[in-house]
């Protein structure tokens, strides 16, 4: 892993785990969200991590090398282009205050509420619709406010930059440098990604954690390096620390189970699940703990998997397919077309190449379909929120582009 990729991963892991521990300490030890407490916790976490891994950390700084050779023109142009887009998002984020509806109603509101009432339980009990989503972005906003900065939106530019950076280096490991650059530029220009990089919503953070967790999982499947498995588990766990209602974590967990069973390494399943569940179950337990005090914290529709199976028929399948095509797939435009072409190619040439990543992406699509179908069965107004369906599934675009890049590249490593 190069320095830029390490820094990007560090930012994402640091922000995610730090906010998670801030939440845990408040809940378990009743340590409120004051600046002194959060700073003490941050310093303690750094000290503990350094103590555990001090030899590797010192070795890293000793062996780190900065490339002295002159970069090629195309590399300069590539990074210049990325820098320009990031500079634009930073300019917008530093200038315009948070004003998007859901951010005012929930994500940023919670940060503002914690400034007045720094106890999570108390704040949750005094405000309706407070625990609808986990707290990663809200606690990140809170920390920015606490250190005296007026606007936390720059965090979303850093999410964007980290994502693009890791995407490039991850793709470069499996394809040629030119292909990695071309697909990273398409990713950097993804309209959904660019829009969300200047909005204080959770969709970008969710996409970043879920996609990167999937990329490192793919690396683990290929290389069997256990640290990649841990990294993937933490990133997928953190995706549930951003948005917990979506069940897409099923896909990486299933992929780990299948790989571990094939390799007869059962402990990998336990390792992956244990790390994932630390993040996932903590919020679940906390939500039910608060709902026991107040009544349900989120009136989310609960899916009954047996009723989904009972209600399958051709007409309903067609309705859901039509809905998904009209409001989700068609908005992906030619990326969707190219992805379908790649799927068909993979069917004809399944013995010539390794299509593991493509199959993982297809599994995500299947989960999206089943989830929408389940929603259709249990919720009469299922068609009323096409924008939410589109926003929820934007993480599939980077995955599809990644699959196309892996399939089309001649130098597939």
């Amino acid at each position: 892993m190069g320095l830029a990729e390490r820094l990007s991963v560090s930012f994402l892991l640091g922000l995610g785990t730090f906010t998670f521990f801030v939440f845990l300490f408040d809940w378990i030890f009743n340590i409120d969200y004051s600046l002194n407490n959060t700073l003490s916790l941050l310093i303690s976490l750094c000290v503990v991590l350094f103590a555990v891994k001090y030899r590797e950390t010192i070795d890293f700084f000793k062996t780190i090398k900065f490339e002295k050779k002159k970069p090629k023109l195309k590399t300069i142009l590539f990074w210049g282009f990325i820098f320009l887009i990031v500079a634009y998002t930073l300019l917008v984020n530093l200038y315009w205050p948070i004003s998007d509806w859901d951010a005012l109603a929930l994500y940023d509101f919670r940060a503002k509420a914690f400034l007045v009432d720094p106890s999570l339980i108390h704040a949750s009990l005094s405000n309706d619709y407070f625990l609808g989503y986990p707290l990663l972005t809200s606690l990140a906003h809170l920390f920015v406010y606490q250190i005296g900065l007026p606007n936390p939106k720059f965090i979303y530019s850093l999410f964007y930059l980290s994502f693009v950076c890791i995407y490039y280096y991850s793709l470069k490991r499996h394809t040629s440098k030119n292909s990695a650059m071309a697909f990273t530029i398409i990713l950097a220009l993804l309209p959904e990604l660019l829009i969300h990089s200047t909005m204080a919503y959770t969709n970008l953070a969710y996409m970043v954690y879920l996609c990167l967790g999937t990329f490192y999982l793919f690396d683990w499947i290929k290389n069997k390096d256990r640290w990649l498995l841990y990294l993937s588990a933490i990133l997928i766990g953190l995706s549930s620390w951003v948005r917990i209602a979506e069940p897409f974590w099923i896909v990486p967990i299933s992929a780990v189970c299948l790989t571990a069973i094939r390799n007869r390494k059962w402990k990998d399943i336990v390792r992956y699940l244990s790390i994932f569940l630390i993040f996932y179950s903590s919020w679940k337990i906390f939500s039910s703990y608060v709902s026991n005090m107040t009544g349900p914290v989120l009136n989310a529709v609960k899916l009954d998997y047996f009723s989904i199976l009972k209600n399958v028929n051709f007409e309903r399948l067609f309705l859901v397919t039509n809905y998904l095509y009209t409001y989700v797939f068609s908005t992906w435009g030619l990326v969707f077309l190219a992805f379908l072409v790649v799927i068909i190619v993979s069917i004809f040439k399944r013995k010539e190449k390794n299509y593991t990543f493509l199959y993982i992406t297809m599994f995500f699509l299947i989960v999206l379909f089943i989830g929408t179908f389940g929603f259709f069965i249990v919720y009469p107004g299922w068609q009323d929120i096409p924008d939410s369906a589109r926003r929820m599934s934007i993480f599939l675009l980077p995955l599809m582009l990644y699959s196309i890049a892996l399939t089309t590249n001649n130098e597939n490593k």
């Binding site: 634009y88 300019l91 917008v92 200038y95 315009w96 205050p97 004003s99 509806w101 005012l104 109603a105 929930l106 940023d108 509101f109 503002k112 509420a113 007045v116 009432d117 005094s126 405000n127 309706d128 619709y129 007026p150 071309a182 530029i185 398409i186 220009l189 993804l190 309209p191 660019l194 829009i195 200047t198 095509y325 009209t326 068609s330 435009g333 030619l334 990326v335 969707f336 077309l337 190219a338 379908l340 072409v341 790649v342 068909i344 190619v345 004809f348 040439k349 196309i404 089309t408």
Partner: protein
């Protein structure tokens, strides 16, 4: 069904070179037509193609997908790769155009020209002057522990009736929704009642502009002019709803001392 018919035709004539070339051309043409229509909508407005030519752009994409599937059944890897790369080049162009519109919408030139604009002015520009200034007016007129009665959650009060939205500006004040024609709660249990004309002219559930549509007896009314920001007081505190008077009024009624 269309796909099934096409598939049958393809099976019958699929070996013919002329037919295969026709399918290739059709696949590329549909891709190009889809991109053109998409770009046209980006340059004009979202429903431009449907309003002029009476078909949806996503159907063109579906046709392109069907043609591409037929094309794939009997094509060389090289030509398939050309199709994918062509699609991706078009994607690049589409994204550039869409992103240009997004970037323009965030007004980077305006930002550079007005780098020192105040937070209040920026909020007025992003969420609307009336809504933001009214929220600040309410905040200035009420103590932090006040309970405030606001309109029922619907248009024409889309933002000022939404508890989750409005509380962002008024926290830790407690906000309660009333009904259109009655307070829904014991009026003596609240500290303030808004006089909220409505920031839109849209009707929902039969609700129309002007709220409250019931009489309120308080101790003092402060009226607010959204254009000038000026305020004036009515010390009688007696708010009388007149169904014939639908003039624009904004303010807040103090219920008790």
């Amino acid at each position: 069904m269309l796909f099934a018919v096409l598939f049958l035709v393809f099976k019958k004539f699929g070996e013919s070179k002329l037919f295969r070339n026709a399918i290739s051309v059709a696949a590329f043409l549909f891709v190009a037509a889809y991109v053109m229509s998409d770009i046209l909508e980006k340059l004009t407005y979202p429903n431009f193609i449907f309003s002029h030519f009476h078909f949806q752009t996503y159907l063109l994409l579906l046709s392109a997908i069907l043609m591409a599937c037929l094309f794939l059944l009997n094509e060389s890897e090289k030509r398939i790769r050309i199709l994918i790369y062509t699609a991706l080049i078009f994607v690049f162009g589409q994204y550039l155009i869409t992103d240009f519109a997004t970037i323009k919408g965030k007004r980077p030139v305006f930002i550079l020209k007005n780098i020192n604009l105040s937070y209040d002015k920026k909020m007025e520009m992003t969420i609307g002057k009336v809504v933001y200034d009214y929220a600040i007016f309410i905040k200035n007129k009420t103590p932090a522990n006040a309970t405030i009665l606001i309109p029922p959650q619907a248009y024409p009060w889309d933002k000022t009736s939404n508890v989750a939205y409005l509380r962002y500006f008024l926290y830790p004040r407690n906000l309660i929704n009333g009904d259109e024609k009655d307070p829904k709660v014991d009026i003596q249990g609240v500290d303030y009642v808004l006089i909220d004309y409505g920031e839109t002219n849209i009707s929902q559930y039969g609700y129309t502009n002007v709220w409250p549509k019931f009489n309120v007896v308080g101790v003092e009314i402060t009226y607010w002019d959204p254009t000038s920001g000026k305020t004036w007081q009515d010390k009688t505190g007696d708010y009388r709803y007149d169904p014939k008077d639908s003039s624009e009024k904004w303010g807040i009624i103090k219920i008790k001392n």
